[in-house]
Every structure is written in structure tokens, then in C-alpha cells.
Assembly symmetry: C2
């Protein structure tokens, strides 16, 4: 077996989930993730943790949901008991076909999710971490060969996370201390307020409130957005390709939008509810191990030389205790390449120019 699979398992268990002896772990294995599951089981055995392995198969789920009359039981007792008694949940995505559930009607999927709220909360109350095993189906989605895709994934996952966390702390400090963020890119400029909000140093570890491996972004929950930005990183939104979307904000709300491709997908998102026209997230990609777009939001949004804005729901972690941020049924990330002709400023100080941060070699302050 590629020894990077074992290294991936080790990072997941030690750095990300901080598994200790005696922890009750649920290991959720997608159809394409068998090899990583074997490697993770070896780490868990070595640590003296206990493991229940769940089969996280899109094809099994699809068959179940399509056959059901749609009146799902609320939070089945055996599943709820499993997650309520778990300390850690590790999800190893994904399947052999990223479109395996494409023909499950949206309303069936929503009905299923709505009836599983306590299970979801129980899972979120654990030290959960999601990661992906490089599969042929993900390589295909990225338009890459399997060999090249594996190199890509391991470059993103097998980082010196401790040192990246320290670097990201500098970005977090600036956002936490600042009041206003301004992004200038090409002909666009956009400003948003961040005072009173707390940035998350998303360093791929539960110790940092970060639940994805790989991660490598600093994000916060902005408000009072003004101006425009163009999102030139291609994306798939609700199964439709979107290219060069552009949003125009006034008083915190989208007042105009356009896209070269997929404008209807953008419209559907923005018309979901009131919160879908306001920002839920500003994120700054800082994982330089991710150097290309692969049409997988878990990777794309962490790419170095990019920033992303999400319309819709804000994360609680960015808000003062008890305060609610922007609320919406959606959270859709849009990504902008800032490697050229771009600046990111916090309270007037240039923090990043053309992708280079001010603490990096080659940064030009003006």
C-alpha cells in the first residue's frame, strides 16, 4: 500500500481528531475508501481506541430513500444511541460515483435530513473530522489521472499543520483586531465589517474547531458588505457549472448579480430566502499544497492565492456566544483568484498583495 495512506491515517487520528486510548470511535467508510479505512483502523488499534465501522454508501442510501414512502421515523433509537455514546466520528469519503444520489428527489432528501436532527446534533457533539480518500471518481471529477490526483490529495493533506496553524494565526489576529476588510481585485472592490466577530484558524484539527482534513483557511462572518467582486474560480453549484459569477452588494445585500455561465444556478441560490442575499462567510485560502481547482469545494476553498465569500448561513463559531449570525437554508461558497492584480486590506493595512501575505518573502507593501 502507498505509504502516504498510512501517513494520512496518522494525521487524521493524531493531529485532526486527537484520538486517545479508550475513545469510542465511529469510523464511517464510503465505498471508495477501503484502503484508508484499513490504515485508520491500524492507527486506532495502536492507540487503544475502540471502533465501530459504519458503511457510508451512497448507493445503499439511495436504494433505501427511493424505496421509502418518505414518512421517515424521527431519529431511530439505535443510530442515535450509537452517536450519543461516541467520542469521535471519522468520515472517510467518498464513493465510486460522485453522482450516485443524483436521482434522489430533493424533497425526499430534505425529509430524510429533517427527521435526523438529534442524530446530527449528537454527531456534531463529538470530535468529528471529515476527510477524503483519493478515488478514481474524485480524480475524474477533477479532470485528472488517478496517479496525479493522489499526488494532489497528499500534497494537500500531508502538511506541516503545526507550522501552518502558526502562520494562519497571524491572519486570524489581524481579522480579530480589525473592523473592516477590503478586497480589491481587477476592476472590483468590496468592503465588509468584521468587528465583533471572531475568525476561525481552520487548521484541520478539533483543537482549532476545524473539522475537515485537509483544511487551511481562516474564515469569519462579515456583515454590512458594500461593493462588488468577481468569482473567477469555476465551480459546480447544485450540479450546474458556474463561471465568472459577479455579485454587487449595497447595505449588506446583493442588489445585482451576473455570471458568464450558470447564472440561473446563481439566481436559484440567491432567491432561496432572505439570508441567501447576505454574506455568511469570508474565507482566506492558505493551504499552498492545494495548487489547482478540482471541482471539490473541500479543497478549492482552501487553495492558496484565493479568497472566498459564501452567501447564506454563518458559522456560530465566528459569533459572540448566544448571538445569531446570518441565517439561511443555504451556504454557497464562491471563490476568487487573488494571485494577480489584487490586494486584501484590514483597516487600511495591506495584508496580502497578489497572493503574497505581508509576513511572507517577496511581499511588496506598496
Amino acid at each position: 500500500m502507498d505509504e502516504r495512506v498510512s501517513e494520512h491515517a496518522e494525521v487524521l487520528v493524531d493531529w485532526s481528531a486527537r484520538v486517545e486510548a479508550g475513545d469510542d470511535v465511529v469510523l464511517a467508510v464510503a465505498e471508495g475508501s477501503h484502503d484508508l479505512a484499513v490504515a485508520v483502523a491500524e492507527e486506532l488499534g495502536d492507540r487503544g481506541a475502540n471502533v465501530v465501522t459504519v458503511y457510508d454508501s451512497d448507493e445503499v442510501d439511495r436504494a433505501y430513500k427511493l424505496a421509502h414512502d418518505g414518512d421517515f421515523d424521527a431519529d431511530p433509537g439505535h443510530e442515535l444511541a450509537l452517536y450519543r455514546n461516541a467520542d469521535v466520528v471519522l468520515r472517510l469519503g467518498r464513493g465510486r460515483n460522485t453522482a450516485a444520489e443524483a436521482d434522489v428527489p430533493g424533497e425526499t432528501e430534505q425529509a430524510y435530513r429533517r427527521r435526523r436532527q438529534e442524530i446530527r446534533e449528537a454527531r456534531m457533539d463529538t470530535d468529528w473530522v471529515s476527510t477524503v480518500h483519493p478515488s478514481r471518481s474524485l480524480a475524474q471529477q477533477a479532470g485528472m489521472s488517478y496517479e496525479a490526483y493522489r499526488d494532489f490529495v497528499y500534497d494537500a493533506v500531508l502538511r506541516d499543520w503545526e507550522s501552518l496553524a502558526e502562520e494562519m494565526a497571524q491572519m486570524k489576529e489581524r481579522l480579530d483586531a480589525g473592523s473592516e476588510v477590503r478586497i480589491e481585485s481587477g476592476d472590483d472592490e468590496i468592503t465588509m465589517r468584521v468587528d465583533g466577530r471572531t475568525a476561525v484558524n481552520s487548521a484541520a484539527s478539533v483543537a482549532y474547531d476545524s473539522h475537515n482534513l485537509p483544511s487551511g483557511e481562516v474564515f469569519t462572518a462579515p456583515y454590512a458588505t458594500e461593493g462588488s467582486l468577481t468569482f473567477d474560480v469555476p465551480m459546480t453549484i447544485q450540479s450546474r457549472r458556474v463561471r465568472n459569477a459577479r455579485l454587487v452588494f449595497e447595505d449588506g445585500e446583493v442588489v445585482d448579480y451576473s455570471a458568464e455561465t450558470g447564472e440561473d444556478a446563481l439566481r436559484d441560490v440567491l432567491e432561496t430566502d432572505e439570508g441567501a442575499r447576505r454574506l455568511g462567510e469570508l474565507g482566506i485560502g492558505m493551504n499552498r499544497g492545494i495548487d489547482r481547482v478540482t471541482d471539490n469545494i473541500l479543497f478549492d476553498e482552501k487553495m492558496g492565492d484565493t479568497v472566498h465569500l459564501a452567501v447564506g448561513r454563518a458559522y456560530d463559531a465566528c459569533l459572540p456566544d448566544g448571538e445569531q449570525g446570518n441565517d439561511s437554508a443555504v451556504h454557497v461558497d464562491l471563490i476568487s483568484d487573488v494571485s494577480e492584480d489584487s490586494r486584501l486590506l484590514v483597516d487600511g493595512e495591506v495584508v496580502q498583495r497578489n497572493g503574497t501575505f505581508r509576513w511572507e518573502d517577496g511581499f511588496e507593501s506598496s
Copy 2:
């Protein structure tokens, strides 16, 4: 997908496990059983049952056990909670390699099992059923092509179980009413007492205390065995081939034994403990859908035209409430072909001659 996969799923869910709406089902899926899992999930969705799908991977288990220091935690809480809250457990075997755990030391395996007694009991308290999906590895073990092996499995599984259960009831009645069973085959004859014992009509359904699909045998817990029998159906015992084993009993105990091949494996079994030299089971194979030996005890022992005796542990279901039968750490089945030159008698009445039962066409009473 082969429509027999769906029929198998339907038999499992309806006839074997008697699943009803609202049942909390654990579906344990081995590496090679994905297609059957999809079909079973469809049946469960249709019935309005709830499902947690567990990944029952020998390779994951092996990695975990080999990495562990062997001091396993007793009955981990999350796993115990899962099974205590389950109504039904469906196990779909097996893996892609029947030897996947061949290098896990026996003492590690035993230590692991010993620490999981409450979990095992919780699982046994559900309406559990084990079945197998025809895989290439099982075909290989049977020495058969994949296509031919699939035909073999579905012939065994897709029976008219209701009618087989009625036929088997006739065998059960005779054993329950009788005091002594005599088997004559070739130059051997053997007698055993069965009075005070209850036969199980193993009709592949929890409604019959039968937890394997396929099944198709009637078995009881005999005692006071006298005489000899030769077991001419080839078997694998503790990973060793055994051919033409012969046991000689006096006063209920093995006093002599031999085998053309694998006599050492037979000796190891018989020397395990005191109970290993006494019978734990007499079983009469009645599934005529199983017409050949495939080196898989779940099938072989149910084959029509065979009887089997097991040395070692007896099943509680055959004993009066509270009474304990023969006790042993082992239960090893040995199978005898009775299609020729053979008779099975209960209290002197010939019940089967050369494989034909007295209620079947072609039975010759003398």
C-alpha cells in the same frame, strides 16, 4: 443487477427476519456484499424500517487487532448501545478473501472475543440472521466458477421455505417423540439417545429459532452415543483438510478415531477439552437445493442426502429450560453422505433410506 439478488433480499427481510415498519435494523455488510446490501436497503426502505449500515470488513478488523496491544476494552459503550437498541441484525457475508484474518494470532482473536460478551449477547437478543452474498472468493473456495457458484447459492437460498418447513416438521416430530436414533451407513452403525431433547426445525427464519439463510436441517442434542460412523464429506477444520474421518464411541465418548487425511486436525479438536469427545449435535440435512460440497459449513451441513454429527458444545434450544447440554469450547461438524447403502431409524422405524425420507416418493420401507 441479477434479479435473484433482489429475491434473496426479499426472503431475508420477510421470511427470515420478519422485519416490520419501525424496526431498527443493523445491516452488517462484508467487503464482497455491496450488491446484496443495496437490495436489502431497498426492501428495508419499502417496509418503513430504519437502518444503520455497519462495514463488516475482515481487513479492517485484522489491521485493528494486529495493531492493538491485546488488552481490549470490555464492551465499548457506543457499540453496545447500538446493538441494545436494535430490533434486527442482518449480516451479509463475506469478504474478498476468506483467509483475510489468517495471520491474526489465535490468542488475540480469543482476547478480543472474550471482551465482547455483552455485545454478543445484545446481538443474539435481536432477531438476527446471517446470510452470504455469492462472491468470487467463496466461489474459489468451492472450486467453482463465479457464474456456477451464483446458481448454486440461489438454488440453496431461493427455496419454498414454507413448504420445506412443513416437510422438516415431520422429521422434528419423529425426533421429539423418539428415544433412540440409529444410523447405519456402509460398515458402520451408531446409536444415540434423544429422549428429553427437543429438535429444532431450522427453516431459515427467526420464527423457527433459525438464524441462517440458507438453512434446511433438523437438529437435536443427542447423548449416550455408541458405535461408529465415517464422515466421507471432505471438510476444512482449523484450516486443515480432513477426509474420511471415522469416530468410534463407547458410553457417549470417543474412544477411537482415524482419518485418511488431516488426522492431526481431528486430534486437536478432540483434545480441546472433555466435552470435545462427546456429541453436541445430530443434524439431518434437508435442503435439496444444496447438491454439492463447497467447503463452507453453512451450506455443506444442510445438504440433502447427508447427516452430520458435531463434537463439542450443544445448543440450548434443544434442551429443557434451564438444563445444560454438553459443554465445550468447540463445536465441530462432521458430515456423512447417506445417499447410498444407508438407513436412519428412530426407535426402530426406518425414517430415511439411501437419502429418501419415508414421506417422499420412492421410499422403500425395507
